[in-house]
Symmetry: C2
Subunit: 214 residues, 2 copies
DNA sequence: TACTCACCGTGAATTATATCACAAGGATCC
DNA sequence: GGATCCTTGTGATATAATTCACGGTGAGTA
């Protein structure tokens, strides 16, 4: 792999390519061209090839890519070959929905625990896990060597939650709370913000509406 | 407003600025500098000013911005002054969680209906709405002039769902299904993909691990 | 083996986005 | 009312990402 810095947009696309290759694999398709990958993921074939070029040469000139082979490499690049252990903190509506989501497991992510502060929820069964109290979180992360945390607590509690997680050793966090969180440099943080997504859509709708007025 | 093309990244940041200005407003803070906005949203002050500059001049040199005034303008830009009506299709775990989410309403989004194909779910109460059957969706969108759709059905059903929505007149779609959807040019689509987010985190964790090996 | 074809891999050109740095201008104080 | 701050607004500059376009190379064919 080249030492070059890789755009995050490339990583996002690799994940989407991999998902589509997965579908192709399941459908029994064995070879694919950069153009076909582009069509399936609405991008350009040049973009597909550029993205892959950061990591090596996976295709055969004049032929294309072998679906299984390419997907195996993409999964390797994305770190999906070794299982990733995850905890969810905040067993509310969203936390439980994520807990019960199947799409999790079949990509190598294992939800090992779900935690909540509310003692009336502690003990409740969610899928095949039981909601645990917050005071057990630190020890749980250390004992089970948890690598990733998902934050589904209210915004006001999000910072204290990630502080506990990172102090215990979590190295990556997916945050659903609408709050800008602060983490150490060696911890990777991503925010999923529903409101922001809706507001971006709302902005573009506004543009169309103004067009219409003219 | 200038006719220039505005980066999507700018729109995303404006939404985040607005959220933080909202908090400031609620805390009684009346003035703020681009630097302070940058600190709250981890960006740079130059970035904040550039973003705002696409839409006009909102500050006072030597002083900064009036929180209320700036936030009012940002909301206007984002189209949050007129209420946006929304339907959710797919009353599963995720659809219900979104339905019951408060963060929706206080930014001008009104969930007007929730639909599902499964007749055993139809009639069920979710918050103050009742789950409706799919055959009513088209008429509902037309009658209530629904502008936005949220897709929380399984991937296999996502394309047919957006087809119904767009044919009925929906102009913007937020899709949670892990599927690349096709929509007409005048319909704005955004995808929220949990798996992609986790995989991006996984990738960066992989980089750290390789560092460690050296 | 030689010839053709198809499609990858990649440097170069283009376009987009972010940062820098400073002149412009309003507020405040004497 | 003039001098002094301070922070905005913005052109210029730097960096990053995408698209273009074509040379290189393996596969298939006869
Ligand atoms: N529900 C959605 O559709 C949705 C969408 C986008 C973002 N979000 C965000 O996700 C978060 C959760 O949303 P939700 O709808 O599931 O809310 P919820 O109120 O249903 O769940 C929050 C849970 O967090 C627990 N909690 C509160 N403080 C805690 C603490 N300090 N430590 C541990 N647990 C704590 C609560 O007991 C509760 O069970 C919120 O930040 C919300 O803004 C939700
Ligand atoms: N649950 C999560 O945390 C999560 C996270 C990311 C993405 N997603 C995606 O969101 C979608 C929903 O996930 P979920 O966990 O809520 O699943 P779910 O199975 O709980 O809910 C799906 C709902 O859609 C309904 N449905 C199926 N086909 C339909 C059709 N043709 N028209 C209308 N309704 C139909 C089903 O009856 C069901 O109620 C899936 O595409 C999933 O991949 C879920």
């Amino acid at each position: 792999m080249k030492a070059e810095k890789i755009p995050e947009a490339t990583i996002i696309r690799l994940s989407v390519y991999s998902r589509n290759l997965q579908y192709m694999e399941e459908m029994g398709i064995t070879k694919v061209s950069s153009q076909e990958i582009a069509d399936a993921t609405d991008g350009s074939s040049a973009q597909v090839r550029k993205d892959l070029a950061y990591f090596g040469e996976f295709g055969t000139r004049g032929v294309g890519y072998e679906v299984k082979h390419l997907n195996r490499h993409l999964k390797k690049i994305l770190g999906l070959t070794k299982p990733r252990s995850v905890v969810i903190v905040g067993a509310g509506r969203l936390g439980k929905a994520l807990m019960l989501y199947n799409g999790f497991g079949n990509r190598g992510f294992r939800v090992m625990g779900i935690f909540d502060k509310d003692m009336s929820k502690v003990g409740e069964q969610v899928g095949d896990l039981t909601i645990s109290p917050m005071y057990k979180l630190d020890q749980f992360i250390k004992t089970h060597n948890i690598q990733m945390g998902v934050v589904t607590v209210p915004a006001a509690a999000a910072q204290e939650t990630v502080d506990i997680m990172t102090r215990a050793g979590v190295k990556a966090i997916l945050n659903f709370a609408p709050k800008n969180l602060i983490v150490a440099d060696d911890v990777k943080l991503r925010n999923v913000d529903l409101a922001v997504n809706l507001e971006v859509l709302s902005f573009y709708m506004g543009l169309e509406e103004r067009e219409g007025e003219k």
